[in-house]
Amino acid sequence: MASTETGATGSSATGSGVAGPGAAGSGARGTDAGTDVTGTDDARAAVSVAKDGKPAQDPAAPAAPDETAAEKQAATERDLSGLEAGLDALDTVVIRRASIGQVLLNKVLPPIVAVLLVLLVWQLAVSAGFSDPTKLPSPHAVGQALADRWNNGDLFSIIWTSVQRGLLGFLAALAIGTPLGLVVARVPLVRAAIGPILSGLQSLPSVAWVPAAVIWLGINDSAMYAVILLGAVPSIANGLVSGIDQVPPLYLRAGRTIGATGLRGAWFILLPAALPGYVAGLKQGWAFSWRSLMAAELIASSPDLGVGLGRYLENMREGSDMAGVFLGILLILFVGIAIDQIIFSPLERWVLRSRGLAPGGR
């Protein structure tokens, strides 16, 4: 900053030539000792030229006007690069990645403490006898139910039945919702026609489709997938629509000036720009998939369906096994969290962080 000040005073006194070299010395000094020497040499040379009078315009010294001009330019050049290097160094945004210790402390520890607190309150409530054990089982009883399933060997098959159904249904919803969202976002007539319906469908609990799906398709996997699709497709499509709506018009203008129009504009500019909204839609789409599936599994009962988490939960209710019911609820919750944490949150974090929009205000 001081260098610019010196430059300013120098130039107002003597005209246009001096300011550059004046700043050059200090600018170069700021960066490293090697350029310091040349910077000062150069400054001296240019100053002496300036004392002769305005070098570029002086008609009395036509002998080497090119040389002085070139010298002056070289000096300005060095001045500029030093100054710019300094500015860049001062302005550069330092991105600090947290150490593993910090991550453990800030990200991993809090949820563990929260879970332990819940377990503690739960255990205290049971020990204090707030409620009879047939209605509120102890954490230990739920743990026992988990151990039973483990020993029985069907814990993973129950979870997997539901998870693979949920993920397959989600992938189908992805394949349908993405083009649907694109068309709704980009074709005004289609948006006018089905945009409101698509938004409205999001507020319709997809469990409401179960009776219809069962009558149309029978109590089988097809009905399950139908319910998942009806739950997840609107979320995914709407996510993409709002992602596209929120693309700053500036990006589209900038895209057009570099020749990204039509399909190339959609592929190189529009879709990548809409990615954050799209990923948020995917995340919500998964949540809706999983919810819809659990509701469908709870309601529809058939040997064709096998035992998934929803069925397991309903079986436990029929047997009045409260510990089993609690285990069912916790497993459904656990799977929902796990899929989100393994797939969707990292995806969202990556998308946002690569754009400098890290979630959680960091």
Partner: protein
């Protein structure tokens, strides 16, 4: 670096011709009932390699004019010719794509221009070197300072390899020190290449510091009010007395123009 420099005087002034020719260009917005005339009969030739600043207060249609020259919008009347191909355009906001690195932003422009894959990386590196951001290829946009972003945006505009660069108040959002450095940088790059520049600003000193010709636009509707040819030799500084004197003269003219709008 120094030997690639050619001074503005040594630069080959192109044979007859123009980088942009605006012939009685008018632009009106709105429906036929409530039409608002934004630009009225703008006639302007930009010579090859010339640096022209368009100067004006709010409502002079500076940005509209650039959009027309850039081909993002069509004039209501008159014609615009840019023989050097689609002009490159730089905005006040850097408008870099945040999902790409600095280098990839430039590579995308090269790709859309049809540069073969293997030539893109070296060309992008060369352009980053030109704006002195040699090490910034892999940097994300949000990791760069405001001045660095505008330099990447300049490199991206240069990647279009157009004869004409349009700049829409590109340094208005920068702090004074950074802006000053970028003025030098732009002058340097302009004098090293055979680029013609139309630079829009409302900052009189910026215009006088950079341009060979300053064109003052009146407001509502935008008309060409007056032009000044500037022969102050480069490198100029914003504090130079010659720059200051001319700035005062132009500012007076601009103020008179603005005052005129308050009188009715």
């Amino acid at each position: 670096m120094a030997d690639t420099l050619t001074s503005a005087a040594e630069r080959t002034t192109e044979s007859a011709g123009y980088a942009a020719r605006l012939d009685h260009v008018s632009k009106a917005f709105g429906t036929s009932g409530t039409q608002q005339l934004v630009l009225d009969g703008i006639t302007l030739d930009v010579r090859p390699g010339e640096f022209v600043c368009l100067l004006g207060a709010s409502g002079c249609g500076k940005s509209t004019l650039l959009n027309l020259v850039a081909g993002l919008d069509a004039p209501s009347a008159g014609s615009i010719a840019t023989p050097g191909g689609r002009p490159a355009l730089m905005f006040q906001e850097h408008a870099l794509f945040p999902w790409l690195t600095a280098g990839k932003n430039i590579e995308l422009t090269l790709r859309l221009r049809g540069v073969p894959r293997e030539a893109r990386r070296p060309e992008a590196e060369r352009l980053l070197d030109l704006v002195r951001l040699g090490g910034a290829f892999g940097k994300r946009v949000h990791e760069l300072s405001g001045g660095m972003r505008q330099r990447v945006a300049l490199a991206r505009a240069l990647a279009q390899d157009s004869q004409l660069l349009l700049m829409d108040e590109p340094f208005a959002a920068l702090d004074a020190i950074t802006r000053d450095v970028l003025h030098d940088e732009l002058t340097r790059i302009w004098s090293e290449t055979d680029l013609s520049v139309i630079f829009v600003t409302h900052n009189v000193r910026e215009a006088v510091r950079l341009a060979q010709r300053v064109v003052l636009l009146s407001s509502r509707p935008g008309r060409i009010n007056r032009e000044w040819d500037i022969d102050i030799p480069h490198p100029r500084r914003i504090e130079d007395t010659a720059v200051a004197d001319l700035s005062i003269e132009i500012t007076e003219e601009l103020r008179g123009e603005i005052r005129r709008h308050g009188q009715h």
